[in-house]
Symmetry: D2
Subunit: 268 residues, 4 copies
């Protein structure tokens, strides 16, 4: 009897001769057989996804990988400028921007939709009218609470985010057009009648709805956005090293700094 | 004329109606068509990989995704314990362990092999004997410099890392068994005759050799290990949330702390 | 007319011959004259603190600097083990644990107290009985809402956290025993009569109350805990490098890993 | 007999009734008595510094705390913009820029000077001429090796960094003008005769020399720059929250993005 606890895991374990992952032989059963996106899904869902699920899942990752010069991409480039030789630091700095405002929308939308579906009368609607009614009720509740509706609206793509119809079409092709996506679409349809203006369904939101329809745990959805963004950050950092812009960004800010007296009095 | 610089990029750009990535329409041309691993390769290499290249590339990612309770996995779990609600922080903490000692081997091996090949007489060997000679020269040089050979040896898999022959076989199947892998194999064969003991080719090293054979920039190879590990960290954190072990790890360390006077004198 | 914005700041600016900080000459007016804790206070509060305020402020930082083998300290040590040569990564990994569960208490307490005081009838109480009444009302409201009271209770120091009376005494000596501390003390006194059990006032909480009494912005209080912890992490990492324990922590976890089948079915 | 190791430490330990740090009672002996900078020194050096050592040490921290809109400050502001509510992430993103290029100079200079002094003939020089000779030899060796001399030269303060003479004066006042500073000054004097142009002694470098003269371990010097910068980052983030500029920085970069075809061919 020892005070040393045991640490259970269903993920990676290894012996001198074997490496196991998810209870399978990594070299024999997974390498060359299981795709990377497929493995990422499996590691979180603890079940191997179908080919159709993998296609929808990877479509979401592709949609979220890179959005050009986002604050996260700029932060990663500036960090690689000031701390070259520690790539992990530049990637981590970019990932740390994956919080509530931008990448968080995917998770927020998934959680919001899942909650409505959990509290909704069963069975769930099987007609568009039924979904619209459920959506209208939810929109009224958010408005009454003075709360925003996650996934609705976009600062740039005001006429609609091109990723949204495409992802819904892919989910449809794979027979994975489930209740979270249906409810999300209904929220879009009902935004004008209920909220008074037509709000586009943004890409981050539709990604959250699609991931929730895949049965992935909604409280982990931000993680998939971070995974996608990690690949995007590698592209940004590789480009920064080929053709640097961080020095020009830094110089443009520093050169245009203007000293202003503090807003609060500076009384010794 | 303005002092505002322009910022060139070949990655993501967007307008009110379109989102482009790598010069392609994200929604129409990439989502549902390009795999996630394929896109990650493309973003760094700036060329779309072939199906065979994708299979080797994803095999490498799968090989590096999770190694169980590594220091990075433990750090991520402890961070999620102390800062719940900021998943990006737990992932970043894990990624920050992706430095020279563990995940760095992949990059170090790729850089080491690439350098030997660059400096080698052209054309490169076309026989095993030729590769062995090149490897023997490199091993002698490292020994003379008192330097380790990256990718050789493993603390656990002393009889050989099961990932190594598997990845070489996959590269072979795809016709991507190139000079970096050939040289790496030769280093393994010559380790006993030159260094006096047979050192296994470790998995992190063979991954570096395979990525270099794919023509990926060797100074970015650590980044792919970080990408793979990000997926592994999501699995670790999701498991931590389902079935926590971080509190027990913390308690086991804290409970067994022993105060010892400082090694150096504590003189006021 | 250019599209280049100007970036106002009241902090650091420099020219070829001078470096200014907070509108003062860094070399002539601040170095050797202003203490480091004093400067940290000034940078956030935008006013130079008095000697008494500096003493209370630095007492808080000292109280929060190091708590031994916390999850943050262990994460930093493990990160320095796996990524040696990137000290900033090990420090950052430790800081990332400065979230809601542990270091967050300081800020949560400050915000909680400030809110009660803002909503309280003015003038604020001038008798212990008056503070107790205000505290009792707040405790009942938290209980009714099923919410915890930040700063009350401690897993280890059940009989009272030794930092609490000491910090209150220091604030008292400096004439800085203000309404946040008075309310916090009253919450402690009323916890038994209202909540049914005497809860100790923990050290993280009293630090938040004291910082709020110094007039520091409550939404930045977590930052001072992070600053203090950064110094603690340097001590932890320096000790790790002199006398490593991370390898033993890692080995103890890895050696005691037990594979368990996933809780959820693993159905292909 | 158990397989559970013990974990020795000379830093923080606690029991139900006491909290110890560095072998002292935290509440009774340290809070209100020991300054924060003093404690940071003590935690790394494992000895309590004298009042003069504290003054020099805090002068270094003050010199390094904030340099305005550095890449690290911009990265922290952008991270707080995209992930509000996780202050630790914004601070960590800023700290991750504390690498070789900027904050690293302090450590690089300390290590460079310490190495010359270790290899120098003993006793060390006691005349300016003697220091100049030692410096000239070191400068010639660096030039022969094609290596830069850490701490020499500054992109902005070409006529001299105002922090340098001030810190030397403070060290002098405290009787802590030791061999690292003397050698550093000599390197400055000899840069013109040996390297052909007068290079100013930069502030980051003189800080490294002064910290080394305090007997702090040179391989930890970057850590003190990180500690100082953490306070500066709090100031930057607090200002960002009062008066945001990150949205304008982000917009200026995003608005001026120009798509350029990849440098490498994009061949499917």
């Amino acid at each position: 009897m020892t005070d040393q606890p045991r640490y259970p895991t269903s993920l990676g374990t290894s012996s001198a001769t074997e490496i196991h992952l998810l209870g399978h032989d990594l070299a024999e059963d997974l390498m060359g057989t299981v795709g990377f996106g497929e493995l990422a899904f499996w590691l979180v869902a603890m079940r191997r996804p179908s080919a159709g699920e993998v296609r929808v899942f990877e479509s979401v990752l592709v949609a979220l990988t890179d959005h050009g010069f986002t604050p996260t991409a700029i932060a990663a480039r500036l960090t690689d400028l000031s701390a070259p030789g520690a790539l992990q630091g530049a990637v981590a700095a970019g990932i740390l921007g994956g919080g509530s405002r931008y990448l968080g929308v995917t998770e927020d939308t998934g959680i919001f939709l899942a909650q409505i579906l959990t509290e909704a009368a069963q069975p769930l609607p099987d007609t568009e009218a039924g979904w619209d009614e459920l959506a209208a009720t939810a929109l009224r509740a958010q408005r009454a609470a003075g709360a925003k509706v996650p996934g609705l609206g976009h600062p740039v793509h005001k006429q609609g985010d091109p990723r949204t119809p495409r992802l819904i079409a892919i989910a449809d092709e794979e027979g994975l057009h489930g209740p979270h996506l249906r409810l999300f679409e209904a929220l879009g349809r009902m935004s004008e009648p209920v909220l008074g203006r037509a709000l586009p369904l943004n890409g981050a939101g539709v990604c959250g709805a699609a991931l929730a329809d895949l049965g992935l745990p909604v409280e982990m959805l931000r993680g998939f956005a971070l995974l996608a963004r990690t690949a995007g950050l590698l592209g940004q950092i590789a480009e920064e090293r080929r053709n640097p812009i961080a020095p020009a960004i830094y110089a443009a800010v520093d050169r245009n700094a203007v000293y202003v007296p503090p807003l609060e009095p500076d009384v010794p």
